[in-house]
């Protein structure tokens, strides 16, 4: 996994609460057996005017001019600003895969759904939680200033404008922070405890021999 240290990027606002994973990446694209290539179908039903199916030439499809990510001023955005309970619904990791493949490196919201939140960390996508009032303020700023950019510094746990006019601190789980900063593979870390797992397993089978 690519390490995450700091990102300075354009911010795109998606002003909706309860954005679900079916909206982030509709089910017809879940048939792929790969991890990559989901970006062109991120928010497919909102982003295009026709019905998306796998294998289409997405560049040739009619874009929905009213959808925020199609607004030229947000082209190349790396930070997505959203409302509460973002990523609710299914456990599909295709949702963070699609966001990351599109080019997003960080999300900012008042809250996320649990499984989605967890899945983001596994893919180098930082889901930042800020209080609702600060998120409101960022929505105002991003609308008011074309080209509005933010810098996310994971080490210092801050997000703010490059000129320092807005500066917010955020919390992050220390273990997840450590893994993200160093691009660590969870599995490799866990396997360092293989002996403890084996011992646990043996004890468990002794106590509950039906758990074969």
């Amino acid at each position: 996994m690519e390490p995450f240290r700091t990102v300075t990027g354009l911010v795109a606002p998606l002003d909706r609460a309860n954005v679900d994973t079916d909206a982030i990446i509709p089910k017809q694209f879940l048939k792929s057996i790969k991890r990559s290539g989901f970006g062109p179908n991120l928010f497919d039903a909102w982003r295009y005017l026709d019905r998306g199916e796998p294998g289409m030439d997405n560049a040739a499809r009619p874009a929905n001019p009213d959808f925020v990510l199609n607004d030229p001023r947000y082209r190349g955005a790396q930070i997505l600003l959203v409302r509460r309970n973002f990523g609710c619904g299914s456990s599909r990791e295709h949702a963070p895969w699609a966001l990351a493949d599109y080019g997003f490196r960080a999300l900012i919201a008042p809250s996320y759904a649990d499984i989605f939140h967890n899945n983001c960390y596994k893919n180098g996508l930082l889901p930042i939680v800020l209080p609702e009032a600060q998120v409101d303020r960022l929505f105002d700023a991003v609308r008011a200033f074309p080209g509005f950019r933010l810098t996310v510094d994971l080490e210092r746990q801050t997000v703010g404008t490059p000129d320092g006019s807005i500066a917010c601190a955020f919390d992050v789980d220390p273990f997840r922070k450590h893994c993200l900063l160093n691009g660590l593979d969870d599995i490799g870390l866990t396997l360092q405890h293989a002996e403890a797992i084996r011992a646990f397993e043996a004890k468990r089978l002794h106590e509950q021999p039906w758990l074969t």
Binding site: Q28, L30, S91, L189, L191, I197, F200, W210
Partner: protein
């Protein structure tokens, strides 16, 4: 020792080790695998030169992509077929405790077959790359959905990294009135606490109304814990749990049964155990529920009207309601019973078990699907559910009433196969999500119980099943 909740007991008994910051390494007993969220995990394992840690933990099936008719023709969609064949190949290469491939008589929705085969047992940790894994919590298991990276993690290490959630108790006391089901109960809970109400919590459902539910009903309730934001829902062990498990193919055999039962009896919250949050509900006051919007929390009683966003003070919620009404093609103040439907879907991991089909058939018996309804589909949750229903003659009841009797699978709950709504079509569905486009791009989903779905099929619009003459 201090009084512990069921969640405390399940968590504590699976912790292999704990990091300084509280992150625990949690041992996983049962790993359910299906075709959509596993291919990238097996590929990751292969690329890293790793092997599954314990293949006897794996129970696998193909359910999301499989067609529900013309099984002899195989899977026509080449992309779906590749995904199912990839699962076949991965299980062939590595092995599993049990695999129920496409067209196997025991194939079905992974959350139906786990319990049905006795592969889900009390006290287990159960995971699957599917959010509705919460279903298995009905057996006093700690069961939750995971992403594909975590599927790979469990395959490689038999463990997951995570922090303990907060605990919430949802108590439903009193008797559910006739015609009001487990589905109505859980929809009412979601309406009350919201789709993020359980975020960060593990929910234990209790109270006399929950105790009175069958295992099928309890699975329906726990299934939708995730729709309230909680990764895990659970219900304590009692006689109903144990009676359900006795004699199931993978349940403990003779020499272990009594010992297992004795252990399972301890899987309840201790008297005096405290929860981080408690929600109480009077089940006797509930009516059948119907969702009107694009989130499961957008739900009202069948005798109510479509709500008015102008009465909502929170601007984000108001905009959400307005957007939902526009998508659903509904206007505020309209009686729910005036809403006409085009399609009916009875199925999904929420409501496709034998009891669900019996409840729907009881309404359909001797009646006809309204001529204005284009299609009313019944999709059993598994091969054994289908066979049982056919032994009871339920397939005849449905067919005689004009319902379409299908092969098992996830089907139109998420419309990954050919079963889907066309744009603008309105569906009474026993599934779990009414998100935009969930059952097909532009489709409009109203979540209801099986009896309510059957009643809507007959009437052509929503109707209070308690008043169906």
């Amino acid at each position: 020792m201090h009084a512990r909740t069921l969640y405390d007991k399940l968590w504590d008994s699976h912790v292999v080790r704990t990091e300084a910051d509280g992150t625990a390494l949690l041992y996983i007993d049962r790993h359910l695998v299906h075709e959509v969220t596993s291919p990238q995990a097996f590929e990751g394992l292969r690329l890293a030169g790793r092997k599954p840690w314990r293949v006897s933990s794996i129970v696998a099936t193909a359910d999301h992509n499989t067609p529900t008719r013309d099984w002899h023709a195989g899977i026509r969609d080449p992309i779906s077929r590749t995904q199912v064949e990839t699962l076949d190949a991965n299980i062939r290469a590595h092995g599993a405790k049990a695999y129920f491939p496409f067209r196997d008589p025991r194939q079905g929705i992974v959350h139906v077959i786990g319990p049905e085969q006795g592969a889900t047992l009390p006290g287990m940790t159960v995971v699957c790359g599917d959010s509705h894994t919460s279903t298995h919590g009905a057996f006093a298991a700690l069961a939750f959905g995971i992403g594909t990276s975590e599927v790979e993690h469990v395959l490689a290490t038999q463990c997951l990294l995570g922090k303990k959630a907060k605990s919430m108790q949802i108590r439903a006391d009193g008797r559910l009135p006739a015609g009001v089901t487990a589905k109505d109960l859980v929809l009412a809970v979601i309406g009350r606490i919201g789709t993020a109400g359980g975020t960060g919590y593990a929910i234990e459902f209790g109270g006399s109304a929950v105790r009175a539910l069958s295992m099928e009903g309890r699975m329906t309730v726990c299934n939708m814990a995730i729709e309230a934001g909680a990764r895990a829902g659970m219900i304590a062990v009692d006689d109903v749990t144990i009676d359900y498990l006795r004699g199931r193919p993978f349940a403990p055999a003779a020499e272990h049964w009594d010992r297992a039962v004795a252990h399972w009896r301890s899987l309840t919250s201790d008297d005096g155990a405290t929860f981080d949050a408690v929600v109480a509900l009077d089940a006797s006051q509930l009516a059948p529920q119907v969702t009107w919007g694009t989130s499961p929390e957008m739900v009202v009683a069948v005798d109510a009207r479509v709500p008015d966003p102008d009465k909502e003070k929170d601007p984000t919620r108001r905009e959400g309601m307005e957007r939902a009404l526009a998508y659903m093609g509904l206007t505020p103040g309209r009686p729910v019973t005036d809403i006409a439907i085009d399609r009916v879907f009875i199925g999904s991991c929420t409501n496709s078990r034998i009891e669900d089909l019996r409840a729907a058939a009881a309404v359909a018996r001797g009646r006809r699907v309204a001529s204005t309804v284009k299609n009313a589909m019944v999709v059993p949750g598994s091969g054994p559910v289908k066979a049982q229903a056919e032994r009871e003659g339920l397939d005849r009841v449905f067919r005689d009433a004009g319902f379409d009797w299908r092969e098992p699978g996830c089907s139109m709950c998420l419309a990954m196969n050919d079963d889907r709504l066309e744009p603008g079509e309105r569906c009474a569905s026993t599934s779990n999500r009414n998100f935009e486009g969930r059952q097909g791009t532009g489709g409009r989903t109203h979540l209801v119980s099986p009896a309510m779905a059957a009643a809507a099929a007959i009437a052509g619009h929503f109707v209070d099943v308690r008043r169906l003459a």
